[in-house]
């Protein structure tokens, strides 16, 4: 199994979710985060005072999938989340050692 994490633009969440559902990925965790990469932040002005906002709002998603599905999931996220502009985000893939469905006790791929 692989754990795939992606940091994406918040407004791309629905498209990414639909792309993964189309691949048969059964579940996903998503949460609002803030961070920065090469995009860096932006400037806001309140009553003439400039504030440099380093952290940009992003959405982070996590999915666990079977090894053979992982490359297609990675590609689907990249295709769905891309706008071509700076700040589109990144996808990270890790080995996942185990999974348990709490209700039934099923383990491994059966728990996904």
């Amino acid at each position: 199994m692989k754990k795939i994490e992606a940091v994406i633009k918040p407004h791309k969440l629905d498209e990414v979710k639909e792309a993964l559902q189309a691949l048969g990925v059964a579940g996903m965790t998503a949460y609002d985060v803030k961070g920065y990469g090469r995009q860096k932040g932006h400037t806001e002005v309140y009553r003439g005072s400039e504030y440099t906002i380093d952290f940009v709002p992003k959405t982070k998603i996590e999915v666990i999938v079977d090894d053979d599905l992982a490359p297609r999931v990675e590609q689907a996220i990249v295709d769905a989340a891309r706008t071509g502009k700076i700040g589109d985000g990144k996808v990270f893939t890790y080995d996942a050692e185990g999974a348990i469905r709490i209700r039934t006790g099923e383990r491994g791929s059966d728990a996904l």
């Binding site: 806001e44 002005v45 309140y46 009553r47 003439g48 005072s49 504030y51 906002i53």
Partner: protein
């Protein structure tokens, strides 16, 4: 009971309620501009004043301001606990209203003036110290000043014009705010962290309520219904509108974008500027005053960081600069054709006489309010401490001082 004018009484009852409503408006205006961990602490400063200052006003404040004149500096104790207020009349002819209405109307001014100061102490003052400061200030600074300007005191006799409180309310609160910013010191992270407003729509709603309530504040200061209330209403509204446009225009010309907080701040600046002049100037000078004050406050705030003082929500920058400019411009634009009880300013052919009196009024207010405020705050700091501890400041004052949080999101 002596006869009163029912039309004027009706308008003044309404105006009194309008001025009270400005204080929760101010609470929203200020609270939107702090970080969310301090939204309740900042709200409470203004809202609590509605309780605290009202009681003080009834017991002692009113009589010190409007009791029989003692040497031009203070009112005597004749009306302790509003004694002798019921059943008597304030004003004459069509301006005759019950003294009870006059006393309540004036009390609402005392409340919001204390509230205005709190923009400077936001996010770091101990609540207990604030309560003692607010109570002391209402008695030792507000009441004497109100007496000087409106209660038959020396500034009134001198002929300085302050229609609705440019000196008593705005300059006085700004001078106290300056003292508080000095004694309290900067917020942690000032100049390095992001001390950004957490809820601009809240501030805009607050500014809208202030604008609405300001009609009672300024047009009510005619103390009667009639032509003067009408012209003050018009001047008030036009100055707010011009202030809003001027601030946004200045932003577009310097920074590129018209901000929403700028629109709200510009309207408030215009309202502050017109306050001393509202009953003495016509519509075109009102537009000019709003526009001039809106621009000056905007450019003034751009220089704020050079002074190294953390007046958190710009009481000095808006109410100090705006109130002072408005008081001076009253000496420029005031005209006897608008209000025969006023005077002619520079442009109405009155020469520099009124301008000079206006400057005396401004200077006396700044010196008196700053000095007394500074002494009160230093005494409190030496005895009980006025600033919260570092860990409370980092965690936010809402939890530590009030055991609540503003939002569960």
């Amino acid at each position: 009971m002596p006869a009163i004018d029912t039309g004027s009484t009706a308008w003044m009852l309404g105006s009194t309620a309008l001025v009270l409503f400005m204080t929760p408006g101010l609470a929203l205006f200020y609270a939107g501009m702090v970080r969310r961990k301090n939204v309740l602490s900042t709200t409470m400063h203004s809202f609590f004043a509605m309780g605290l200052v009202s009681v003080i006003w009834a017991v002692l404040g009113y009589t010190l301001a409007f009791g029989p004149d003692v040497g031009g500096v203070i009112g005597g104790l004749k009306h302790l606990g509003f004694d002798g207020v019921l059943g008597t009349v304030s004003g004459t002819g069509t301006a005759a209203i019950p003294t009870s209405v006059f006393a309540m109307y004036q009390g609402m001014f005392a409340i919001i003036t204390v509230g205005l100061i709190t923009g400077a102490v936001a996010e770091r003052m101990k609540f207990k110290a604030y309560v003692i400061f607010a109570a002391s200030w209402a008695v030792l600074v507000y009441s004497p000043l109100a007496h000087w300007v409106w209660g038959g005191g020396w500034l009134m006799k001198l002929g300085a014009l302050d229609f609705a409180g440019g000196t008593v309310v705005h300059i006085a609160s700004a001078a106290a705010a300056l003292a508080a910013a000095i004694v309290l010191g900067k917020r942690k992270g000032y100049g390095t962290d992001e001390l950004r407003p957490h809820n601009i729509p809240m501030s805009v709603l607050g500014a809208g309520i202030l604008w609405f309530g300001w009609f009672g504040f300024n047009a009510g200061s005619a103390l009667a219904s009639g032509h003067l209330a009408g012209s003050a209403f018009m001047a008030t509204h036009l100055a707010a509108a011009a202030g809003l446009l001027a601030w946004n225009l200045a932003e577009v010309m310097t920074e590129g974008k018209p901000t929403v907080l700028g629109a709200a701040s510009g309207a408030v600046a215009g309202l502050v500027g017109i306050t001393p002049a509202a009953g003495f100037v016509g519509p075109v000078p009102a537009l000019a005053i709003g526009a001039i004050v809106g621009c000056l406050c905007f450019f003034g705030l751009r220089l704020k960081s050079r002074f190294g003082l953390d007046d958190a929500l710009d009481v000095v920058g808006v109410h100090g600069v705006g109130g002072t400019t408005g008081a001076i411009l009253t000496g420029v634009f005031a005209s006897l054709t608008v209000n025969s009880a006023g005077a002619n300013g520079l442009l109405a052919g009155g020469g520099f006489a009124l301008l000079g009196k206006q400057l005396i009024g401004v200077a006396a207010t700044i010196v008196f309010s700053f000095t007394v405020s500074f002494i009160i705050l230093k005494l409190l700091d030496a005895t009980m401490g006025i600033r919260v501890s570092d860990d409370v400041e980092v965690a936010g004052l809402d939890i530590a001082e009030h055991a609540e949080t503003g939002y569960e999101l």
